[in-house]
């Protein structure tokens, strides 16, 4: 082992939500609406939403820390954030990619099953054709690398990125398929995991599919909605953007609702 692993030693780190004010909401909304790869968005959302409470004193979750969390741990934090912003229902629906029908399914993301890390986490040991090699559990940085290089072989990329030897990049090209299988098994053994997809069969056509549950698709505030509320309050009360974003989410929403109601009442009086 030539280098220290970057992946956080805590698979599901203990975190506290930051005060969910307009600034955090705006940052999350901007992260979601951007054209960045999904792992980059997840990093931004985690960094904007949480403070790391592990250790002697809580400290802010920066982007680097958010990247160093394991892939499963990041997905877990993303689901928690989604639940913070979105009151998730019990019923979901999914499209059938075969017949195009949409069908309902009942599930809950509140208690999505997850598995803890294996022994030796965050480092795994694999006996390859090049000898015994050590690999760290994949984290957010590795996910971002996969997203940046969709044309590369994901297994070799993970071997190169997660390898702790000095020549990991070069060795990754020399690993055989068997070596890569061994490496993947070793990594799966130590890595924590979380359920983020369901196996379903279309009730219309019976087509079996593997559908993913992605909170990014539905649970986070839209940028246009945040800006609309800020715009309403600023126009009515002549407050600055910073002052409005300083408000807790609930209070800002209440002001926006009051203004919208007054506006509706005024329109109705104008009609009569």
């Amino acid at each position: 082992m030539d280098r220290t692993p970057a992946t956080l030693s805590s698979a599901f780190p203990r975190v506290d939500f930051r005060l969910l004010d307009g600034h955090a909401q705006l940052a999350v909304a901007e992260a979601v609406v951007g054209g960045a790869p999904r792992p980059v968005k997840v990093t931004a959302i985690i960094a904007a939403s949480f403070a790391l409470s592990e250790g002697s004193a809580p400290r802010a979750m920066d982007l680097d820390t958010a990247r160093r969390i394991t892939a499963a741990g990041r997905e877990w934090l993303l689901q928690r954030t989604a639940l913070h912003f979105y009151d998730c229902p019990e019923w979901f629906e999914a499209p059938c990619l075969a017949c195009g029908a949409r069908f309902d399914l009942k599930l809950s993301i509140v208690d999505i099953p997850r598995s803890g890390p294996g022994p030796g986490f965050p480092v795994s040991e694999a006996q390859t054709s090049l000898g015994k090699r050590y690999f760290e559990a994949p984290n957010g940085a590795h996910e971002e690398a996969i997203a940046r290089h969709p044309d590369r072989d994901a297994r070799r990329l993970i071997a190169a990125q997660c390898g702790l030897s000095e020549n990991a990049e070069a060795e990754a090209t020399r690993f055989t398929d068997r070596d890569l299988d061994v490496i993947e098994t070793a990594l799966e053994t130590i890595s924590p995991d979380i359920a983020d997809s369901v196996n379903i069969a279309c009730p219309e056509c019976g087509h079996a599919a593997h559908s993913r549950i992605d909170p990014l698709a539905f649970a986070f505030p839209r940028l246009v909605d945040v800006l609309q509320e800020v715009h309403l309050i600023a126009r009515t009360y002549r407050w600055s953007e910073t002052r409005i974003l300083d408000l807790p989410l609930s209070r800002r929403r209440a002001y926006a609702d009051l203004i919208a109601r007054d506006s509706r009442t005024g329109r109705q009086r104008g009609v009569h």
């Binding site: 790869p37 999904r38 979901f92 629906e93 599930l107 994901a154 993947e184 990594l187 997809s197 993913r212």
Partner: protein
């Protein structure tokens, strides 16, 4: 799905997603609602555009017609202006032709002038040469003048010294000659002052007023001559005006002692047959005789003063 397959699935976008029930429908409806106002606006714009198009066409046609009219008006206005512009240009051309002719005519004169200038230049060159040749002579002259200057200064100094000595001598002689004269003048002035003092003592303060002067003994017995006899001894029948036009004994009055010249200027005709002549005195010649001092000088002075006083009183 393998472990790395799941990680890759999280890193890449997916088409097969589970979403909350009704989420997709709501999203589609929102999109439609957002689309509706914009579509309505576009439709409204299109609808407004349709009636506006004929108006715009009409406006365009009117604008074209206005432009045509403007062009015509501009052309019409421009033509006289161009003609006016052309006229000065033609005049200018004529002037230029005339100028060229004058220049052509001027050319021989210029040639002559150039020739004279060249001659003048030659003359100047010669003059410069002469001046250059003259310069050593002038330098010699200047040198001579410079050498002459100290001699002149010496001469001036000598002249000034001579003049000063002469003036000193003149002042000495004048002072020497003046002193006896001044002594004589002072003596005569002192004598005069003494005489005046004596006169003042003899005359007294009353001598200034003739009426108050006492009558001297010699004339005390004589009667005062009447004023009338003094003025007209004899009536004259003819008038004569002007000064001194009358002869002695013929016209007017002559007092030998005093010298009164008077003449009758006119006769007064009152109608009673008596003519009264009016006398105008033109000149009074008063001659005062003061005899030389005798032993009894005070008496003679008193006498002459009394005569003078009497005549003055009559006047």
């Amino acid at each position: 799905m393998s472990f790395i397959g799941r990680i890759t699935a999280r890193a890449t976008p997916s088409r097969n997603l589970v979403t909350p029930k009704g989420f997709v429908q709501r999203a589609e409806q929102e999109e439609e609602q957002e689309e509706l106002p914009t579509q309505a606006l576009r439709r409204q714009e299109r609808e407004e555009e349709q009636p506006a198009q004929p108006l715009r066409r009409q406006e365009q046609e009117e604008e074209e017609a206005m432009q045509t009219l403007r062009r015509q008006a501009e052309q019409e206005e421009e033509e006289p202006a161009q003609a006016l512009r052309r006229q000065p240009e033609e005049e200018e051309e004529e002037m230029q032709t005339l100028r060229r002719q004058a220049e052509e005519e001027e050319e021989p004169a210029q040639a002559l002038r150039r020739q004279s200038e060249e001659e003048e230049e030659e003359m100047q060159t010669l003059r410069r040469q002469a001046e250059e040749e003259e310069e050593p002579v002038q330098a010699l002259r200047r040198q001579e003048q410079e050498e002459e200057e100290p001699a002149q200064a010496l001469r001036r100094q000598e002249q000034e010294e001579e003049e000063e000595s002469l003036q000193t001598l003149r002042r000495q002689t004048e002072e020497e000659e003046e002193e006896p004269l001044q002594t004589l003048r002072r003596q005569s002035e002192e004598e005069e002052e003494e005489m005046q003092a004596l006169r003042r003592a003899a005359a007294g303060p009353e001598s200034l007023e003739p009426d108050k002067v006492p009558i001297p003994e010699e004339t005390r017995d004589e009667a005062e001559p009447p004023t009338v006899t003094a003025l007209h001894r004899e009536a004259l029948t003819t008038a004569n005006s002007g000064m001194n036009d009358f002869a002695h004994g013929d016209f007017g009055l002559i007092d030998s002692g005093i010298g009164i010249h008077a003449g009758v200027t006119g006769l007064d005709s009152t109608g009673d047959g008596f003519n009264r002549p009016s006398v105008q005195i033109d000149q009074l010649d008063v001659l005062i005789h003061e005899p030389a001092k005798t032993g009894d000088s005070s008496r003679s002075v008193d006498r002459s003063r009394s005569i003078r006083t009497r005549y003055l009183r009559r006047l």
